[in-house]
């Protein structure tokens, strides 16, 4: 009765050149600032000129990343669209708030307000592909994307839907960058070597943006990247309780530590919170291949969708790019990949992927 769930395609717009699915981190870009943007695809290849000009950044990234994923899966529509976003369309929210204050609530126009709604990206994707099915948006900080995954997985397992588009999107706004710098959630360094941030030894993260979309299905297609085995989110978790929770996650999937071939970690170079990952790399997964990605993508609330992309790509290509390796314990074959992420000690997520 319970059906398996497969990742049949991917679409990624990130700070690296990831929109071309034929490549896998071949050319790496290094950045030297503490807030970074994405490598833009040629949006006009995917959108009409009017839309490409009119659409807010987050909407554009989301719509195009979803198109890349749908093209690869060879589907024109899906049964449901489920998105995760930690902040929603912040650029338009900031525009509306600042105009509201600056003009004392006068001379406002609706455009920014309409685009500021958190489910705008999900709504715009549905509108574009005329998907009249289920449409949800999760907005829960660093577990927004995984919340969307849980929802999709439940529907596909129970056969309530057969093909679902799932994605994580976040954009950066100027005010957001300013204020998160003030509270030191963004690193204070004037210039920084992003490829080396995981060993920075300083507080805060490098903020960025991006969109990663996936076509999930309970039918396995030729394009299949991986099987989505399980997803779990936890609002709180102490370092002392972390290993216990990992063990129970493995147990509920009838797996042991030795079944995990690669672990994808959410290290972002924040010395105050990366210790969570050290608990696992020095403990349970001491002898496992460790990988990390935020020195390539930066940090944003749905950046774990980039970690998900990385896990899926490694399983499909059966290769681990040198740039993501934190140690040298490469397995002969990659069968199971565990992805673990948290942001500032909250909203912990575990995702298990398996070769398909």
């Amino acid at each position: 009765m319970m059906k398996k769930v497969y990742i049949n395609s991917v679409g990624s717009i990130s700070s690296q050149k990831t929109f071309d699915n034929d490549e896998f981190l071949n050319d790496i870009i290094n950045y030297h600032t503490t807030n970074i943007s994405v490598v833009n695809p040629n949006y006009k290849e995917y959108l009409d000129a009017g839309s490409a000009r009119r659409m807010a950044k987050g909407i554009k990234m989301g719509v195009v990343a979803s198109k890349i994923a749908m093209d690869e899966a060879g589907v024109e529509s899906v049964d449901a669209v489920i998105t995760g976003t930690g902040m929603g369309c912040v650029i338009d929210s900031e525009k509306f708030v600042s105009r509201l204050i600056d003009n004392n609530e006068e001379y406002l126009t609706p455009t920014s307000f309409i685009q500021s709604t958190h489910n705008t990206v999900g709504g715009q994707i549905a509108l574009g592909i005329q998907c009249k099915g289920y449409n949800f948006t999760y907005v829960h900080s660093s577990s927004s994307f995984e919340s969307a995954l849980i929802d999709a997985k439940l529907q596909l397992t129970l056969d309530e839907a057969s093909t679902i588009l799932v994605g994580g999107i976040d954009e950066l706004g100027p005010h957001m960058i300013q204020v998160h710098g003030l509270i030191k959630h963004i690193k204070q360094e004037k210039t920084i070597d992003n490829l080396a941030i995981l060993n920075s030894g300083t507080e805060g993260a490098v903020f960025s943006e991006g969109a990663n979309f996936f076509v999930l299905s309970n039918g396995k297609e030729n394009t299949c990247y991986a099987e989505l085995v399980d997803v779990e989110i936890l609002n709180t978790l102490s370092k002392e309780r972390l290993e216990q929770q990992v063990r129970s996650f493995l147990n509920q999937n009838k797996m042991t530590i030795n079944d995990v071939d690669v672990i994808v970690l959410g290290n972002n170079g924040d010395v105050s919170f990366d210790e969570y990952y050290s608990v696992l790399t020095n403990g349970l997964f001491k002898n496992t291949q460790h990988t990390a990605y935020k020195h390539l993508s930066g940090e944003f609330k749905t950046v774990s969708s980039f970690g998900f992309w990385l896990g899926a790509k490694m399983l499909k290509t059966q290769s681990i790019p040198q740039i993501v390796k934190l140690n040298d314990n490469a397995p002969k074959a990659i069968k199971n990949v565990l992805i673990y992420n948290q942001y500032r000690g909250e909203n912990h997520t575990f995702v298990m992927l398996r070769t398909c």
Binding site: F96, E105, G123, K132, S144, L182, I183
Partner: protein, 400 residues
């Protein structure tokens, strides 16, 4: 639908009451919560009316026993109080005894603080603790903390005005699949200048009392509210000998895929959501005894929703009413508020009136219930429709 989803607790604050009983009393007495705005300073104060909750933030801080330097937005204060009421009313003493989750809905989140300190943050350190409170998820985590939920599935849904109804759907599905034994679901949104001005620019705010399904309706009144219900599995109901208030019998979510803010003329999305709900529940349209409509009193919504109701129920449209004339449109919380009103309707066999209705709409001949009606009710359908084409229906029943 397989395993049944029991509703065992409810908690809420709205413009017509600070708890479920007060809300019920106002509904029965036909007492509206709509008034001129008093708590927020806005240049629109003379041209709009709202559904405000009388509590000040400091009153709520005291009720929750928060320290002086806390970082709760008004949305989180309201949400915490309502969620605590819900947990208490279900008789939950040890929340971690069963696998429990929280799914909260919001659209505003910490925007009330952001709009207040937007530039102040840059100059002064005093209020910077609220920066982290801006995203919706941080507010939900605070509510989780207030009800003692740790190492749990806690998440937030934001699908505009259908958000809390969607939280009910996701919660029901998690119990149905055995992922959780218990889940607190609902939503919270406070009034903010951001939403007042946003809806103002869309020109859908009424300058007087909102009049759902009336020919001369002039738009909506915004309101603030927080409302949560406790969903529990058969296992808990049996083990704890729970008093069940009602059941989530079916649900449906669809997308209109028509326009970012407007509903399609014939309510395609709303029609599909109601049909899907009845199908999931395995019931016929004739078994629905009352519809608590979305009925925001905007020209577009009421026409589109009314047509959708006719498409689903044909010549036999059950009694329906919108309770927005009592509370105003409470955005993400609306689906939670109206879920509780639907359950109160079932418990008391009472249909609540659609206040302020005078003139029949000319596009169709269905008329909302304008008086309090006592009638045996078995099933109540609740609609929630939102921006982004989001359409949701939830069916509540007396029996599993």
């Amino acid at each position: 639908m397989g395993a049944s989803i029991a509703i065992t607790g409810m908690g809420m604050l709205s413009a017509i009451g600070n708890n479920v009983q007060e809300n019920y009393d106002s509904l029965v007495q036909g007492k509206t919560g709509i008034s001129k705005i008093s708590r927020l300073s806005t240049i629109h104060k003379d041209s709009i009316m709202v559904g405000e909750i009388p509590y000040t933030n400091s009153a709520m801080e005291a009720m929750l026993g928060l320290p002086k330097n806390h970082s709760f937005s008004r949305t989180s204060l309201l949400g915490s109080l309502a969620a605590k009421q819900a947990v208490a009313s279900a008789g939950i003493r040890d929340i971690s005894k069963y696998k429990t989750g929280l799914i909260s809905a919001s659209t505003v989140g910490g925007m009330d603080m952001t709009e207040q300190y937007y530039y102040d943050y840059l100059e002064n350190e005093t209020h910077r603790r609220f920066i982290k409170e801006h995203p919706l998820g941080d507010g939900t985590n605070k509510i989780a903390q207030q009800i003692g939920l740790n190492e749990s599935l806690v998440t937030t849904i934001s699908t505009a005005c259908s958000s809390a109804a969607n939280a009910i759907i996701m919660g029901s599905r998690l119990i149905k699949a055995g992922k959780l034994d218990r889940v607190i679901v609902g939503g919270t949104d406070c009034l903010s200048k951001f939403t007042i001005n946003g809806f103002k620019t869309l020109m859908i705010l009424s300058d007087t009392y909102n009049t759902p399904f009336d020919e001369n309706r002039k738009g909506l009144n915004l309101g603030e509210a927080a409302a949560y219900i406790v969903l529990e599995s058969d296992k808990i109901v049996k083990a704890e000998n729970r008093k069940v208030l009602g059941y989530v019998k079916g649900y449906g979510n669809t997308n209109d895929a028509f326009h970012q803010t407007a509903s399609s003329e014939n309510g395609d999305g709303a029609t599909a959501a109601m049909e899907k709900t009845l199908k999931v529940a395995g019931v016929n349209p004739s078994q629905v005894d009352y519809i608590n409509a979305h009925g925001t009193a905007t020209p577009n919504n009421d026409l589109s929703e009314g047509r959708a109701i006719i498409r689903v129920f044909g010549k036999k449209v059950p009694p329906f009413s919108s309770t927005k004339a009592f509370t105003g449109h409470t955005l993400a919380a609306a689906g939670g508020v109206e879920a509780i009103y639907s359950i109160l309707a079932l418990q008391n066999n009472t249909i609540f009136p659609n206040l302020n209705f005078k003139t029949q709409m000319k596009e169709f001949n269905i008329t909302p219930e304008t008086h309090l009606v006592e009638k045996e009710l078995q099933m109540v359908l609740s609609n929630s429709l939102g921006f982004g084409g989001n359409c949701t229906s939830v069916l509540f029943s007396k029996e599993p």
